[in-house]
């Protein structure tokens, strides 16, 4: 606590024109706890939203399964019609629901925009789940070395 025991140097900042609003420090604690609370709520909501996608994912998987069985039973003469139906089903499905399908099916239906969207979503979730404190240290170290 060597640094903390030292005489406050705040006046030096003030002498150079840097000031703080009146009562700023008194209200700080409440604002920090408010931020902690709102971040907890937001994380909870994100988790909830993520959870809410599961019924859709299950529905999409069932639809694809039913369609697969249906396709096996149909003759090749209705190929044009079934292609259109597949297209319609795929169009109806949200990109999120496709994540639960197998890789070949998923990649076949994704365009560049979908890919970027899903990729960014995945990155965002990772960031939420892991505090990148260590990375920040490395980044700063790099900055200071240069």
């Amino acid at each position: 606590m060597e640094y903390m025991k030292k005489k406050s140097n705040n006046n030096k900042f003030k002498d150079h024109g840097l000031n703080v609003p009146e009562h700023y420090f008194e209200s700080l604690e409440a604002r920090i706890f408010q931020q902690l609370q709102s971040e907890s709520n937001s994380e909870f909501s994100k988790g909830k939203v993520k959870f809410l996608w599961w019924p859709y994912i299950a529905a999409a998987a069932s639809l694809m399964l039913v369609w697969h069985v249906y396709q096996l039973n149909e003759s090749s003469s209705v190929n044009v019609a079934s292609d259109m139906a597949v297209e319609l089903i795929v169009e109806e499905l949200n990109p999120y629901t496709l994540v639960s399908l197998n890789e070949t099916e998923l990649l076949a239906t994704l365009d560049q925009e979908d890919y970027e969207f899903l990729y960014n979503e995945a990155i965002e979730w990772d960031e939420w789940e892991e505090e990148a404190l260590e990375q920040a240290y490395l980044f700063t170290e790099f900055q200071l070395m240069n």
Binding site: M1, E2, Y3, M4, K6, S8, N9, N10, K12, F13, H16, G17, L18, N19, V20, P21, Y24, F25, L28, E29, R31, I32, Q35, L36, E39, E131, L133, A136, Y137, F139, T140, E141, Q143, L144, N146
Partner: protein, 185 residues
């Protein structure tokens, strides 16, 4: 906070039943020195306020990661420094500036607009000169000159060699002298 040893205090921060009370004590103890430390890097009050709150939130969320290999204040100041430097980098990115360039022109404008900055003659103030420095030099200059920290302490917080800190400070000082020489007559 002073009635406990540091490891006892950290234990209070980690225990669910004492966590909130201990964290309040920590805020109370560190809010002013941390604020001025951050303000010395970002210079604008509004930015310092954002960074300070994020720093405390990060401390609260990551106290379990503090392994007590350094002093608690060193760890907290390091987080604050990282937060402030990351904030400056983020601002540069938003403004489409090169990450290597000093914030100077934009920071200068925002500094003048900051209601909590009172310059007599903007161009002749130390803060104005500091705004022209690259952030790591500004940080070291602020820690040494404004916060009156020892080189040893600065080196510990920034995880740099004492020699590296001294040469950065020397460079910053030199640039500030040149700034004053150019601006005052």
């Amino acid at each position: 906070m002073s009635e406990y040893s540091e490891s006892e205090f950290v234990a209070h921060l980690l225990h669910p039943s004492t966590r909130e009370k201990a964290f309040k004590a920590l805020i109370n103890q560190y809010k002013e020195p941390l604020y001025w430390h951050i303000r010395g890097i970002v210079l604008i009050h509004e930015d310092a306020d954002d960074v300070l709150q994020n720093t405390f939130v990060k401390v609260y969320r990551n106290i379990h990661a503090f392994k007590q290999k350094s002093k608690l204040y060193t760890w907290i100041f390091r987080i604050a420094t990282n937060e402030a430097l990351s904030y400056v980098q983020k601002m540069k990115k938003i403004q489409g500036m090169s990450l290597d360039s000093p914030l100077s022109s934009n920071l200068e404008k925002r500094l003048i607009a900051d209601p909590y900055f009172n310059p007599d003659q903007v161009e002749q103030t130390l803060v104005h000169a500091m705004s022209q420095l690259p952030e790591q030099q500004r940080n070291i200059f602020s820690m040494r000159y404004l916060q009156e920290m020892k080189f040893k302490e600065i080196a510990k917080i920034l995880d740099l060699s004492i020699g590296g800190v001294k040469s950065s400070y020397h460079l910053a000082q030199k640039k500030i002298k040149i700034h004053f020489k150019d601006k005052t007559f």
